[in-house]
Amino acid sequence: MEVPILKQGAVLIATFQAALSDADLNQLRMGLVQQVVKFRSRAVIVDVTAMDVMDSFASRTLREIAHMIRLRGAETVIVGIQPEVAFAMVQLGLTLEGVATALDLEEGLAYLNEKFKTTN
């Protein structure tokens, strides 16, 4: 399954679909990091609004993506975790520690703008 990655200035926006398999997630992890390198991006927003299930593998992959991108010197923000998905994640004991999250795409972009402003 193809995950659309949109380039918006220094920010890459990846929109996850509902039915991503483990193989899709693995492919995406590599793809995103490669694109960050290629475009010298400063940040990545991963939009998971459409994901109806976030299991242990998906959250681990998201954490790994964020850590790899951090090692490149860029920032990751996960946006759009649905309330029901958040509830299931907490029950399952899954955390996204050390990874920035925001309500939606708009909030994610606002967070990054603020962050870039203060670091410049």
Partner: protein
């Protein structure tokens, strides 16, 4: 009304997605809230992933169950894999032998209302979980 029983063969990571989608559809048809359907779908995802990671193949059976005054869904994950030597240890948070997060079984237990596991080394594993409609 929906079919009372659905079997999904689990042979690859793609089947994990298909099993949890079928579980969500069944739960929704049974009148579960969207939040509970998410919990059920997440539990199915974890159980199917255990099959792929530890046993390579197996199956997930989704069943409508009728209690005295209530209806629910039962998810049976079974495989003929290596089995679990120490079930008590496998049910502890943070335990894993496949390099995964190791939260699978205790987490699934928290997502659902009822949890049963039977496993013997060399005999495979069967996990049965149930959730009752509120």
């Amino acid at each position: 009304m929906s079919v009372g029983e659905i079997r999904v063969a689990i042979n690859s990571d793609q089947d994990i997605v298909s099993a949890r989608q079928k579980g969500r559809v069944m739960a929704t048809e049974l009148g579960f809230s969207s939040g509970d359907a998410t919990l059920i779908a997440t539990a199915i995802s974890e159980l199917a992933r255990n099959i792929v990671s530890y046993a390579s193949k197996g199956q997930i059976t989704l069943k409508v169950v009728n209690g005295l005054n209530r209806q629910g869904i039962s998810v049976i994950a079974s495989d003929d894999g290596p089995g679990i030597t120490d079930i008590r240890q496998a049910l502890r948070d943070g335990y894993s032998t496949s390099g995964s997060l190791g939260l699978g079984l205790p987490g699934v237990r928290r997502l659902m209302d009822e949890f049963e596991i039977s496993s013997q080394p060399g005999q495979g594993t069967t996990v049965t979980v149930k959730k009752w409609r509120q």
